[in-house]
């Protein structure tokens, strides 16, 4: 297991920093150009959610390894208002129809594994993994 690197998200420019860090780690693990771009986009979506809906939060990256595969794990944590209807925000068309981009369903598509925990008034934690093929 590698060590965790985190980046705090407070202003819009922090999203760029998070993308860069995510891409660098993905590159080091050995992801190709297309997957690097997908991972960077997923980071963007997660970081932008923090920037837009929670006052602050962070995105953490980690290179992970099992017996037979390697991958990148990303965790986005915020202490924002939480998501009251998770099924709704995970619905296709919900985010795009509001002009908010790919949203969480997009992140789920870009990555291989996706988990979300959210408590009202306490915040949201999104954990996601992409495996190297």
């Amino acid at each position: 297991m590698g060590t965790q690197s985190c980046i705090n998200i407070q202003k819009e420019w922090d999203i760029v920093g998070a993308r860069q860090l995510g891409r660098d780690i993905a590159k080091k693990i050995g992801f190709g150009t297309v997957d690097q771009a997908r991972i960077a986009t997923a980071v963007s979506e997660l970081a932008r959610n923090i920037y837009l809906y929670a006052d602050s939060g962070k995105v953490c990256f980690e290179a992970i390894e099992t017996i037979d595969k390697k991958g990148i794990s990303m965790i986005a944590i915020d202490s924002g208002p939480g998501i009251s209807d998770i099924s709704l925000v995970m619905q296709d068309g919900y985010s795009t129809s509001r002009g908010l981009g790919a949203g969480l369903p997009g992140v789920k598509r870009l990555m291989d594994e996706f988990d979300l925990i959210s408590e009202k008034e306490q915040g949201t934690e999104v954990k996601t993994i992409k495996w190297l093929r």
Binding site: T33, A37, R38
Partner: protein, 337 residues
């Protein structure tokens, strides 16, 4: 899927090379076919850009660094399109699933609301009812009583589609629960009004025309709950008149009362009942006036009642470019003895 892209990658590279060297149209035609194959196999745009980058790198290793970086930039801009494409696919599948559910509901509705045209000697009946979407918010029903009279119910729920259709089933079951005989049009409307008022959303309402025809004395008894007025054709005077019947729509006021009217029907007279889908037809920005319906009926008065309603429907369907805006129901009764 991996196989498809590997196979296409080889193909793509050789086609690209051939095209760059000859600029022959046939290679562009092959590119078009590859494009379709990509789409069919859900190959995303960023993967295609990547394929292009790899092919170029193998064919022309000495291309400038600036050019290669520009391709990276292009790939990045394709990611959201790829996501949108995937989302579109999922939504399309969901839409198909929904459509088939609605089709099942529509066929259930057809069974539930089925009614058959009664065979009454001396009375020629024509009916057509077509929903704008899959489910019909118009309702018509014929009831034959033991005393030889027939009841004709015609109703229109505000709005259309599934909510309207659900509401119609309620009307049908309430009517079924009324005693077989001795129900006057006005009491039927008064009873239904209470059912609707108690059971539907405040912004929902239903209009209904209920008529009872007694062949023994050639009398039509009728009452209307805010329904689009029908027409009476007086054969002797060769004139259409609006059937006047006042009454509040169902579901607005619990204690609404309905007035009952009578009409004596002679040979060749016609009763024309309709829902507002018939008269609210629009041709572009132009509204179709009610008189237009009558003109079409008059033009086809030599035909049977069923042929007449079919002709009117076809006429308005064409006027609206074959896309109904609202459910359409038309009933014509003609006394032919």
């Amino acid at each position: 899927m991996g196989n498809v892209i590997d196979l296409d990658a080889k193909n793509y590279k050789s086609l690209l090379k051939n095209y760059i060297e000859t600029q022959d149209e046939k290679f562009l035609y092959r590119a078009e076919q590859i494009s379709k194959s990509f789409l069919k196999n859900n190959i995303l745009p960023e993967e295609i850009v990547n394929l292009h980058m790899q092919a170029l790198d193998e064919l022309y290793p000495s291309l400038s660094g600036e050019f290669q970086r520009s391709m990276n930039f292009l790939l990045e801009t394709m990611i959201s399109y790829g996501l949108a494409h995937q989302e579109f696919q999922t939504l399309r599948e969901e839409q198909l699933a929904l459509k088939s559910q609605i089709a099942v509901a529509a066929s259930m509705q057809d069974t539930l609301l089925a009614t058959s045209k009664p065979n009454i000697e001396g009375l020629d009946i024509g009916v057509i009812s077509v929903p704008a979407n899959q489910m019909n918010g118009d309702y018509h029903h014929f009831i034959e009583s033991n005393d030889g009279s027939i009841g004709i119910a015609l109703a229109d729920v505000i709005g259309k589609g599934v909510p309207a259709a659900l509401c119609m089933s309620m009307i049908k079951y309430s009517m079924d629960s009324f005693p077989e005989n001795a129900m006057q049009p006005k009491s039927i409307l008064e009873n239904l009004n209470r059912v609707v008022e108690r059971n539907v959303d405040p912004s929902m309402f239903i209009t209904m025309f209920y008529a009872q025809y007694q062949p023994k004395d050639n009398k039509l008894h009728y009452a209307s709950a805010g329904h689009e007025p029908g027409f009476y054709y007086n054969a002797k005077r060769d004139k259409f008149e609006e059937i006047e019947a006042k009454g509040l729509v169902l579901g607005v006021s619990l204690d609404a009362k309905y007035h009952q009217y009578n009409l004596h029907i002679n040979k060749d007279d016609m009763i024309i009942l309709l829902t507002d889908g018939v008269t609210e037809c629009r041709q572009g920005e132009r509204f179709i006036e009610r008189e237009e319906v009558l003109n079409v009926i008059r033009d086809h008065a030599h035909l049977s009642a069923q042929e007449m309603v079919d002709r009117v429907y076809k006429y308005f369907q064409r006027l609206q470019n074959f896309q109904l805006r609202d459910d359409f129901t038309l009933i014509i009764l003609r006394k032919d003895v």
